[in-house]
């Protein structure tokens, strides 16, 4: 947009500049067109007048016995009788080949002693030619001419000429142009004022919006109040939603910070007291309290990540790449355990409606658990319907008796102390899944070990391009 040179400037300037340019161009074209039309009209009227004089001259022309031309009655226009009055006639004699024989055999009184020098262009019978010639006093004249062959002496054609001051055309045209300029100028001014008023009134909601935003920035308001035109209101609504979302995130972050502080401060307080009292149990106490703090921190971190993600609308991620990446990780982390992992093809095309990191967190913990307990193999498969997907993880480990299944999904319960781990893995998975509206179900696997069903919301297979 930089090439327009107006980017970054105000909408007002953009609108004004655009409209003003348009007004100027339109008025200029209209003025030019109208002046042209008027000039043509005046010139036509002028010629019609000349032609009617020429017709009268032709009608009044007669030839006497000596072959001399004369007018039976003088022409009616009084200007023809006054010297240099601006309207003139003249008759030239031609020979039979239409070459000039004698100029001005008859002339109007208005020509006085001036003879019109008409170019020898010999118009054919009945055709009227128009020329510009010099008149008395050197003034330019517009003239028309025709050649007549009198019935009495057809071998002696005559050229009849009517001429009038060219200023008779120029004067009204100039007057009209002056008037036109005034009226178009007034029209333009009116339009410009109209445009300015329209822009100021039309853009006022934006100014109001800016004031409302400034109030938000300065902390006077929590959101943008008031109603705005239909075109802006959606923007205002969205902005208010973002503000509210930020406020929610902030309060959420404060809660989480509080939870984390609590998780760490309690063990710290216990340790500090023990250190002051020189408790002989200190090393054991340190180990216990650190484990406790770690468990709490892990739990709150996982929960906070998820809670933030669930409130972010419109995220999705494909399931299969996440499973593949996690299988790579498990094969490294459990390199000494020679497990066979199979990933069913049903996973391709599945898309989870939520954050990729949360999917990593859930499937990571689930697969970690499976690898921890499996004897030789882990099978991963999936099912899906319109709005939900289910990932099934089977292992051939010892499994879990039904009465303990609910307990391992609860926070901080470890099914067996023999295997290292915080004991929160499956509880975190269950918590996260519930935040997404899904669930974790533990069952007996056909492989003999544990089957874990992770049910999560599914997105459309082809996520919208955002």
């Amino acid at each position: 947009m930089r090439r327009w040179g107006l980017s970054g400037r105000s909408l007002r300037i953009r609108l004004l500049a655009g409209t003003l340019a348009w007004i100027v161009v339109t008025i200029a074209i209209a003025g030019w067109g109208l002046a042209g039309l008027f000039h043509r009209h005046v010139a036509e009227q002028f010629r019609v007048g000349l032609e009617s004089h020429l017709e009268q001259l032709t009608a009044n022309l007669a030839i006497d016995q000596n072959g001399k031309a004369y007018l039976t009655t003088p022409l009616s226009d009084p200007r023809l009788g006054r010297p240099n009055a601006g309207l003139y006639w003249q008759i030239d004699r031609l020979d039979s080949r239409q070459a000039l024989k004698k100029r001005g055999v008859l002339r109007s009184r208005s020509l006085w002693d001036h003879v019109l020098l008409v170019p020898d262009d010999a118009p054919s019978d009945g055709v009227i030619h128009q020329h510009r010639v010099e008149g008395p006093g050197g003034l330019p004249l517009e003239m028309i001419e025709r050649v007549v062959y009198p019935a009495e002496r057809p071998e002696q054609p005559l050229r009849l000429i009517i001429a009038a001051d060219a200023s008779l055309i120029a004067e009204p045209v100039d007057r009209f142009r002056g008037l036109l300029a005034w009226s178009l100028g007034t029209l333009g001014l009116g339009l410009v004022i109209g445009v300015i008023v329209q822009v100021l009134v039309g853009l006022r909601p934006l100014g109001d919006l800016r004031k409302a935003l400034a109030a938000v920035h300065e902390g006077h308001a929590q959101g943008i109040g008031g109603t705005f035109p239909r075109e802006i209101q959606p923007l205002v609504d969205d902005f208010n939603e973002v503000l509210a979302y930020n406020a929610r995130i902030l309060s959420h972050a404060r809660t989480q910070a509080g939870n984390l502080a609590h998780a760490v401060k309690t063990p710290l307080a216990i340790l500090a007291n023990a250190a002051v009292r020189r408790d002989p149990q200190l090393p054991q106490l340190v180990a216990e309290q650190i484990a406790l703090a770690q468990e709490q921190v892990d739990y709150h971190l996982a929960r906070s990540r998820a809670a933030a993600a669930v409130t972010t609308p419109g995220t999705s991620c494909p399931v299969k790449p996440v499973l593949q990446a996690l299988i790579r990780v498990m094969e490294r982390l459990y390199a000494d355990k020679k497990l066979t992992a199979t990933l069913s093809d049903t996973a391709s095309g599945l898309v989870f409606r939520g954050e990729q990191q949360d999917l990593h967190e859930m499937l990571g913990n689930v697969l970690d658990n499976a690898w921890k307990w499996a004897a030789s193999r882990v099978d991963i498969s999936s099912q899906s319907d319109a709005d939900w997907l289910t990932v099934l993880i089977d292992d051939d480990g010892p499994g879990l008796p039904p009465e303990r299944r609910e307990a391992v999904l609860a926070r901080g319960v470890r099914a067996d102390e023999r295997v290292p781990g915080s004991g929160l893995g499956l509880a975190i998975v269950s918590d996260l899944a519930q935040l997404y509206g899904g669930s974790v179900i533990l069952d007996t696997s056909p492989l003999g070990g544990l089957r874990l069903r992770l049910r999560l919301p599914a997105a459309h297979k082809h996520p919208r391009i955002r």
Partner: protein
Amino acid sequence: MRVLVVEDDLVLSKQLTDELALAGYVVESATNGIDGEYLGEVEVYDAVVLDLGLPQMDGITVLKKWRAAGCTMPVLILTARNAWHEKVEGIDAGADDYLAKPFHMEELLARVRALIRRAAGHASAEIRCGLVVLDTRSGRVTLDGHTLALTSHELRVLSYLMHHKGEAVSRGDLIDHIYSQEFDRDSNTIEVFVARLRKKLPPGSIETIRGLGYRLTCPE
């Protein structure tokens, strides 16, 4: 066995270095990413303990540079970032194992031992060579069931030879892997340790290959 510790926290770095040295490793340390990257690329290590949050160059970048430069030593990532997506990133950058802070020192030592053993191609924690058995977990060597009394340097030499049993191991390789980089390479202490080991092991266990070095031979 030489181990590199790249960790910017000085207290933790010292704890790691001390514990690894106590477990019989030659330990060197770097406290920022650039030094760590340089050491890993020019020196020979049997394992690396790598923190991720390092000053000047983060651990993932260091690891990627090592792998791009063709360094294949096993790397254990030691970090407070323990979300699964971070583990995926670490493993995909070329890490061989991933341990989250806070951690138990015993677990770290066990993982480092397993990394070195696996890198040498041994699946089991016990490496066997005829009647001689090295338990990598405890660092004990038994001959026909009886514990051999070895000094720490003797153990390092034997342990390296056991990890590479049947292969010719040059004197330079041995020096690289059992001493830190400041060691004077011209001294003949390796010969002294080999001579002492020969007295404690069955005859003919350690062959001298002229111009190449030593080889531990194991009767089937």
